[in-house]
């Protein structure tokens, strides 16, 4: 029997004003949903779902919203468990004071980590309500049957949730060490009403009317406009600073210098632009910033010639001197997030009359991290700081750090007024922490029957998760020794060979690096899938047949994706004429998400361009909570695949980052976008896994393999230009 108690915690945080609330504590699963820096303790429950005294349902979003619409999927789960409609749920993005700390929104982990806890919280609430219904109807618990929005008895006596709650606050305590109530979401036998349907994302109306509120849209009385100078790399130090004329700018309010921080506050955005343009800084970079330096640092061949790479992921009966049929090096470029929203934050220090001394509005992937860092930065206690999590105009891994928030906090404190900071587009390109460039050497040999006998894959990449300045200096060497989980994504191929070695090294590069959609997944799988395609073609084999054969039956879900994508692509014939080709690729992300992609391309000799005409994508990420949003993510990943394969070229030269805006860093446009067909493989009995960055691992090699099919040209370097083929 569920224990009903009151909890001051929720009353203090304004959660409970009558109604029934679940206080759901994560004990067993704490690691999976823990923020990067805050582990929930036994006392910090996560109260996410509530039936209010009028019978309506309030749900706090546990994920930051950045277009992945994971919260809509979680709301579908709540609706399923409570027998209500999605429209019956009032969804609220909580502040850091509304609920206990929750994990950073990253790594496509939202449905993986939160679907079960969310289902358990809602199911616990449902069963608590059932107990109340039993009392109210004078029946035993087993006689109380589900009904839409409440319960009923066999003789059709009905009671709604609204009938069961009153103004008294009831807290239901539950944790995941206790026996779980029945979870409708995860019952494969059950015919579901909410889970598995194409639900329209919550809040979509605001996105088409302009009413949606991103950080910079938050109305703020008396706000001033601020910005700080961004160094070319975070390790740079100021050698000279000239601010003459800044204070004379019309609309100028304050110039703030604090160590390497140089910022300005003005009354209007144009005054701020004018004042910032007068600041001249020279930097001691400590390391040269240019492409040659990057190429030198990731020179995998030089390093492998010297001996083993630093980390070994796989080593089984490795033979260095096999008769290599494939011995190719693949180079993958640096890429920028280039999210449509330049990041923004608003900071406001209170006069002491409010509940918090510092309020921050920001679109961060990690609101609780921002709260903690702001407290450390200002010397305030964490209780004095609140972060209002706003919708992000694109995240893609680039919005996890306390940076624009810090800019706003420092400047707001200096002027004792609320300050809004929004990075310029150039700031975004300079400081968003790129996906590192990488170089991959792949060697493959076969036995007499043509099966893989030897596999030797070595690569060097810039750091991903443990990049410079992402961790305290003292911690970096320790963390790196343990291995960077971002750097190893995608490195283990789904193919079997008796003799295998996979080794890598991750290095510092002269630009700031970090997490970017799929991490090392897309670069590594580009190399693997290109090499396997080349081997098949050279042996006169069909690449799809060859890859399936080399999985040796050990990758049934991936095999199904590949078979289905071949069938799908076959429904449309390639145009006749020269320069048309079709390519395939497949991949696994995080051991749980499977994808295969086909690309139809045209190498157009007259227009001198490579055009992707059509892509098919088959994706299996387990249970499809919202198939339409799985398709949406796959479609977006196809756009990113075209960008990575053909367009995006991050330029560094002359000790500068040259890519500064969309006019010199091309991302996919409408005219570049192929038509896309997506098929989702639903697996009702397999818990949902991530879908946000899966298809990107297979898209770029599918395009490269299509170019090979059309022209015989094997792309060894991304992005691929038309001129590469003709030369």
């Amino acid at each position: 029997m569920v224990q009903l108690t009151r909890r001051n915690f929720l009353i203090a945080t304004g959660w409970v004003a009558g109604g029934v609330t679940v206080l759901y504590t994560l004990r067993n699963r704490a690691v999976a949903v823990a923020p990067t820096i805050i582990i929930p303790n036994k006392e910090s429950g996560a109260a996410w779902v509530q039936i209010r005294s009028d019978g309506s349902c309030l749900m706090y979003f546990t994920r930051v919203e950045m277009g992945q619409n994971a919260n809509t999927g979680l709301a579908q789960i709540v609706a399923e468990e409570l027998n209500i409609e999605l429209e019956d749920i009032e969804a609220v993005q909580p502040s850091t004071s509304d609920i206990a700390p929750i994990a950073v929104t990253a790594g496509s982990m939202s449905l993986t980590a939160f679907s079960r806890p969310t289902a358990m919280a809602a199911a616990t609430l449902r069963e608590s309500m059932r107990a109340l219904a039993a009392v109210k109807l004078g029946e035993s618990l087993s006689m109380i049957l589900d009904d839409a929005g409440g319960f009923q008895t066999a003789d059709k006596r009905k009671v709604s949730y609204a009938d069961l709650v009153d103004k008294d606050s009831v807290m239901v305590e539950f944790d995941d060490t206790k026996p779980s109530p029945a979870l409708y979401t995860f019952d494969p036998q059950r015919s579901k009403k909410q889970v598995g349907r194409d639900a329209t994302p919550i809040g979509i109306r605001g996105l088409v009317t302009g009413a949606a509120v991103y950080t910079a849209d938050v109305p703020m009385q008396g706000v001033l406009y601020g910005r700080a100078i961004k160094p070319p790399v975070r390790s740079a130090r100021i050698t000279s600073l000239d601010t003459s004329g800044v204070a004379e700018t019309s609309g100028f309010v304050e110039l703030v210098r604090q160590g390497e921080f140089v910022g300005v506050v003005c009354k209007t955005p144009s005054a701020l632009d004018a004042a910032m343009s007068k600041i001249n800084v020279t930097w001691d970079l400590k390391i040269p910033i240019n492409q040659d330096e990057i190429d030198r640092l990731i020179d995998v061949d030089a390093e492998m010639a010297d001996g083993d790479l630093e980390h070994v992921l796989q080593d089984e009966a490795h033979r260095k001197d096999a008769d290599w049929l494939i011995d190719l090096r693949f180079d993958v470029q640096t890429q920028s997030h280039a999210a449509q929203e330049p990041r923004a934050a608003i900071a406001r220090f209170g006069d002491g009359s409010g509940a918090h001394k510092l309020e921050i509005w920001t679109g961060s992937q990690d609101p609780w991290g921002m709260k903690r860092f702001a407290a450390m930065d200002t010397g305030l206690s964490e209780d004095d700081v609140v972060v209002y999590a706003k919708r992000l105009g694109g995240g893609f891994g680039g919005r996890e750090h306390y940076e624009v928030e810090r800019d706003a906090v420092i400047l707001a404190r200096a002027v004792k007024r609320p300050v809004k900071v929004q990075w310029t587009r150039k700031d975004e390109f300079t400081a968003s922490r790129c996906r590192p460039a990488s170089a991959h050497r792949l060697r493959i040999a076969t036995d007499d029957a043509g099966n893989l006998s030897d596999w030797w894959y070595g690569y060097i990449t810039g750091h991903v998760v443990f990049s410079r300045e992402r961790l305290p200096g003292w911690l970096l060497p320790v963390a790196r020794l343990a291995g960077d989980m971002g750097v190893v994504k995608g490195a283990l191929a789904p193919y079997s060979a008796p003799h295998q070695r996979v080794e890598y090294k991750d290095v510092d590069l002269p630009i700031d690096l970090g997490v970017w959609r799929s991490l090392n997944g897309a670069p590594a799988i580009f190399a693997i899938e290109s090499a396997m395609d080349e081997l098949a073609v050279q042996q006169g084999m069909d690449p799809v047949d060859f890859k399936i054969a080399q999985m040796k039956g050990k990758q049934p879900r991936l095999q199904v994706c590949l078979e289905r994508v071949r069938e799908m692509s076959g429904r449309r014939s390639l145009p006749h004429g020269s320069g048309y080709g079709r390519g395939f690729a497949c991949g696994i992300f995080d051991d749980r998400s499977f994808v295969a992609v086909s690309a139809d391309i045209h190498v157009d000799e007259i227009a001198q361009e490579i055009k992707v005409l059509h892509m098919c994508c088959v994706q299996d990420v387990g249970m499809a909570v919202n198939p339409d949003q799985l398709r949406a993510q796959a479609e977006g990943n196809m756009a990113w695949s075209v960008g990575m394969a053909l367009l995006e070229r991050f330029e560094v030269a002359d000790d500068e980052i040259k890519s500064s805006n969309y006019d010199n860093y091309a991302i996919v446009r409408m005219s570049d976008m192929p038509s896309v067909d997506v098929e989702v493989v639903d697996q009702p009995s397999i818990p949902p896994a991530g879908a946000g960055e899966v298809a990107l691992v297979a898209g770029p090699p599918a395009i490269a393999n299509a170019i090979r099919n059309a022209t015989g040209f094997r792309a060894l370097r991304l992005p691929i230009a038309f001129a590469d083929i003709s030369s």
Binding site: M66, G67, Q68, N69, D198, T200, P201, I204, R205, L207, V208, T209, G210, A211, A212, V213, Y214, A216, D217, P219, K267, T268, P269, S270, H337, A338, A339, Q340, E341, P342, R391, L392, G393, G394, G395, F396, Q422, T424, R425, D628, Q629, A632, Q633, E635, G636, N637, M638, A639, W640, N661, Y662, D663, I667, V668, R669, M670, S671, M673, S675, V676
Partner: protein, 156 residues
């Protein structure tokens, strides 16, 4: 200094007369549906109509649109809240992901349909290729434009 925004005459206060149109819309009048993204007219997130012509408002000094008619995304739905057929198509096709660019996309699509009521794929490519969407929602945008065009044709 005054201009007409979504049919309503508005006075620009002295402090804001040196700003660009986007800043005035957002910071002065609180019409935040038009958004800042590139600042150089390269992405279309700030797109509005000035006297019926689509323009990137981040590049226009507000002084240049004095006495002109400005239409922003906030002025597109009917007063009773009924969505414009383009907006409705955007909802029906579930276009937005992060959503940041979508106001500009819809305003550009509106200009397209005003000039070319039944656009083909090449028309859509031409008209829409200045509006960037990092999330890559282009296939759904294309579908929505065609759908809205049909709805508007049937409605006459």
């Amino acid at each position: 200094m005054k201009l007409k925004i979504n049919g309503v005459e508005r006075q620009v206060a002295a402090d804001w007369q040196n700003e660009n149109l986007l800043t005035v819309l957002r910071e002065h009048f609180g019409l935040t549906g038009s958004r800042f993204s590139c600042g150089i007219g390269q992405c279309g997130a700030c797109l509005v109509h000035v006297d019926g012509i689509p323009m990137t408002s981040c590049l226009i000094p507000v002084s240049e649109v004095v006495d002109k008619d400005v239409l922003t995304i906030e002025g597109l739905a009917a007063e009773d809240g009924t969505l414009h057929p383009l907006q409705q198509a955007w909802v029906d096709e579930r276009v937005p992901q992060c959503g940041y660019c979508q106001s500009g996309q819809i305003m550009q699509a509106l200009a397209l349909l005003q000039n070319t009521p039944q656009p083909d794929d090449a028309d859509i490519d031409r008209a829409m290729s200045g509006n960037l969407c990092r999330c890559g929602t282009y296939t759904r945008i294309r579908k929505s434009i065609k759908k809205a065009a049909l709805v508007m044709k049937e409605a006459g």
